[in-house]
């Protein structure tokens, strides 16, 4: 029998003597690595991932599992925390980015994990690692959106749709009968303006925002 007078502290509780003989090690999985977790933690929105205690409240209330098979925020977080990057890429890369940002997970999380932003950070991480082999719709939309905000200050709905379709090689679809008749109705009723509102002195703000991005 091992020496049983050493002190041992678990979760702030000091255990002495025989107790530690039958208190098993709290390493749940032998394959845990923390590099992946640390990378995600550094991304915008990823900061709170380590607070998760895997209760599953997020997945229980999530909008998507009913519509998207195997979509599971708790599961994505678990894979990151255990360092299972390869498994995430092979089995889940097409799922993570599908989050629709309804925020029910973040709202209900009992531990204060910003789950929606964590899932978004995981998707971003995969995109940054180029695991999709092409520009995804998600990245394309973020790019055209941020370009327009930074350059013009505001979003023009028609321009954003046009730029998104152009970037993803689908410009032809905008010329379909349905889209054109919708556009015509919007235009004739005055809901599409050819020269959207300009913001005075936006150039200066735009310049400053660009500096921030460098």
């Amino acid at each position: 029998m091992a020496e049983n007078t050493d002190k041992m502290v678990i979760d702030g509780v000091e255990l002495v003597g025989i107790w530690k003989e039958f208190m098993p090690s709290r390493i749940l999985y032998e394959d845990v690595t923390t590099e992946f977790l640390n990378e995600v933690k550094k991304l915008p929105g990823g900061e709170t991932i380590a607070k998760c205690y895997q209760c599953g409240t997020c997945t229980g209330g999530c909008t998507l599992p009913e519509f998207v098979d195997k979509f599971n925020p708790r599961g994505f977080i678990n894979l990151v925390r255990r360092g299972h990057y390869d498994l995430l890429v092979s089995d889940y890369k097409e799922l993570v980015w599908k989050c629709v940002s309804c925020n029910r997970c973040t709202h209900r999380c009992p531990k204060g994990v910003n789950t929606q932003e964590v899932v978004r950070a995981i998707a971003k991480f995969l995109e940054d690692r180029k695991v999709f082999g092409k520009l995804t719709n998600d990245e394309a939309f973020d790019e055209v959106f941020m370009d327009e905000v930074i350059n013009d200050g505001r979003i023009d709905e028609v321009k954003i749709v046009k730029d998104f379709y152009a970037k993803t090689g689908r410009l032809k679809e905008m010329m379909s009968g349905d889209q054109l008749s919708l556009g015509f109705k919007m235009f004739t009723s005055g809901r599409i303006k050819l020269f959207g509102g300009k913001i005075k002195d936006w150039k200066k703000v735009s310049q400053r925002l660009k500096e921030e991005l460098q």
Partner: protein, 301 residues
Amino acid sequence: MKLGYFPGCSLKGMARAYDESTKIVAEGFGIELMEVDDFNCCGALEAKGSNEKLSYMLPARVMDSAKGRFHVDAVVTPCNGCYHSLLRANAAMNEDSAAKSDVISFLKDVGYGTYEGDIDVRHFLELFYNEVGPEKVKNAVKKSLKGLKVASYYGCLYERPKTITKTGYKSKRDDSENPYFQDELLAATGAEVVKFEAAASCCGGAHALQDESLAATLSAAVLSAAKKAGADILALPCPLCGAALDIKQPEIVKAHGNDAKIPVVYFTQLIGLAMGKSAKDLKLTDPISNPMEILKSKGLV
């Protein structure tokens, strides 16, 4: 209380009906809105995934402009998305001193530099409920909407997530799991508000372009739940949900059938109608989903 009004990009484009009906309703009940007409985009969900600092700076510039120009106590917006961005920036400035000093130095460079995370952010629905309320609406009804069955839809970011909606907030908030402010306001017009299970479900609008078929499926689930609940019309407080559920409705119906076909309007349009305002002023002919037909058949326009 001095209020800055931040309409957001959508209300100056395709959701102009929401902008104009909000102003009509506010004026009718004596709420003075000072429009922050040099506003910029709040950054929506895209900025917060792209660059943390920008996702605070963009909303902060709007609030800085409202405070610097008009010395307001609060900024009010009718858009769930803008509301989320503004609250989120406010929360960051109150909880993260590094973010706060970054934002303040940005505002000093490009704006008034007066905003320090210290003004209230309010959603027009919440503001209207708290400052006016169902009783006053009831007393102001000139044309009762009796006979009209309404599904009252809230969308996502109006009351979620609590981590930011509760930050530094002074007014009474809606119930986050079972919101009812809009239900009570609409009931005050004489309309019958139906029991509607999808009231705070997600319309999928955030992915309307990136993932069209999933977005259409989510929207169809909301629209058909409203129809199944017996509603004649669906009313909502968000221009992004409006785009997803109204402008995209022809495509949704094509893919999911007529169960998803139901007129969609902004709640302010129905309140304005009960106040006796004209369909023309309230832009009730704007929605693609054609609310005029049902309103005509009920003798309301």
